[in-house]
Symmetry: C2
Amino acid sequence: MVFEVATAAWLKASAERVDAAILESFKHLSVPAQGLKEAMLYAATGGGKRIRPLLVYATASLTGRSLDDVPGIDACAVAVELFHTYSLVHDDMPCMDNDDLRRGRATVHKAYNESTALLVGDALQTMALGLIADSSMADSQKIRIISNFTRAGGLEGMAGGQAIDLESVGQPLTRQALETMHRLKTGALLRSSVQMGGLAIDLSDEDLNRLDQFASSLGLLFQVVDDILDATADSQTLGKTAGKDAAANKPTFVSLMGLSAAKELANNLHQEAIASLGIWGENAQLLRLIADKVLHRES
Amino acid sequence: MVFEVATAAWLKASAERVDAAILESFKHLSVPAQGLKEAMLYAATGGGKRIRPLLVYATASLTGRSLDDVPGIDACAVAVELFHTYSLVHDDMPCMDNDDLRRGRATVHKAYNESTALLVGDALQTMALGLIADSSMADSQKIRIISNFTRAGGLEGMAGGQAIDLESVGQPLTRQALETMHRLKTGALLRSSVQMGGLAIDLSDEDLNRLDQFASSLGLLFQVVDDILDATADSQTLGKTAGKDAAANKPTFVSLMGLSAAKELANNLHQEAIASLGIWGENAQLLRLIADKVLHRES
């Protein structure tokens, strides 16, 4: 039973599972542009928390089915991670956050160059959506997933949140506006990860909506903790440049509320997330584990 | 009947049709990031030849069906144009071709800024794929189209061709290598446009393969003519910076073969394309019209 391994071991095994699936997904590509493929692999295999694939796997495990019996579940996990990676690669570029360090390594535009980083992000996005289309799910599932995923990733979701983020640098921002920005920028894709897992095991719309409550709280929790870590951790622990939000004069939950209130908010969001899982009882152990990890992470 | 209007009037009407469909596709978006939406519209509504939507429409007209009776055909036309537009916006950026002029207007990073141009391209790509997923075609058609489209647009297609293009600046390149690069960079998406139109009207695999021969010749023709125009036309006629390939020391069909041999190649490719349409006789009038236009265009 999957629930017996709902420990740190499950997190590790699942991260390894998606890492292997990422490598596998590149193997089948017939590619004249080896340089671009290599740079895409560099971006996609640099570790990271793999929180989005973990959400896909944990949600798909909600009914106790083994992941090996859920067609296309690895394609979903890889797709959401590659899509997230595309956004990181572009976000790190000089015209955006201009960051040299990501996941403890040189960012793509530093390890290669800017034009390669641009193409790496572009092609990772395309690949992510192609993987779902080419997966072994039913066509109807694939379409619902691609529809949800593209809405979450585009103008109405992640990309829109990025745009608001850029516009807000140096601006006074209310807590409400900051929350809206993060619900788009980070929250949308985390929610989509949970929906993917649920759609892959054909959950009812009612269940999908319940899970969306969980994912929505979790998404905001993720960002609040990010802001707390940015203000309190060092770059080596984070694997990326610490204190950069303050340096860039970006509004954060910490800068708006103070550190102690931000920590209280994080605890409240964690409790909200856990409460949304109530009806699943023991079956939601893995999702609770992820929520705990998001609250208590150090990087 | 559609064939009676197979003239310049059809080209104009079809370009207007996709322009209207592009505007319509933005109307339904609920968007907190108005600035990004505006910049996406700026990029997507700047005119252009609309050659990819024309190919979608002309192919979907092959069996004489009215476009109004082909579910999802406007979504396909808009999707391929938005995807193409994303590639132009990124291609114009300073780290790529660093171009100030596109379709006779300021490029997106000049009219707005670099970070906006990056996000505009990213979000246009996402939107393009979402439009197909949300269209009124059958799920099985959508999936075949998305699968073909993502293969054509990604590492194995357009993005891969872009990478080879960047690597080849200042390098000696054989005619064969130049052709491979262009078959990916420009050809793949033109071929995908034709496949979309054919899949939308449920053509047989045999017919789809025949059409792919046409599209493959047309794609290369398109690029050879591009190179001829870059060497012979002025910026005002082109609506983009002329002579930039020579200035950037990029290999072109003209620089490798000379102008006169490049013109002969263009004529041969045009004849090949037309010959591939043989079995469709009069029904292929619109596709022939597009091939003529690609050969004889002045911008």
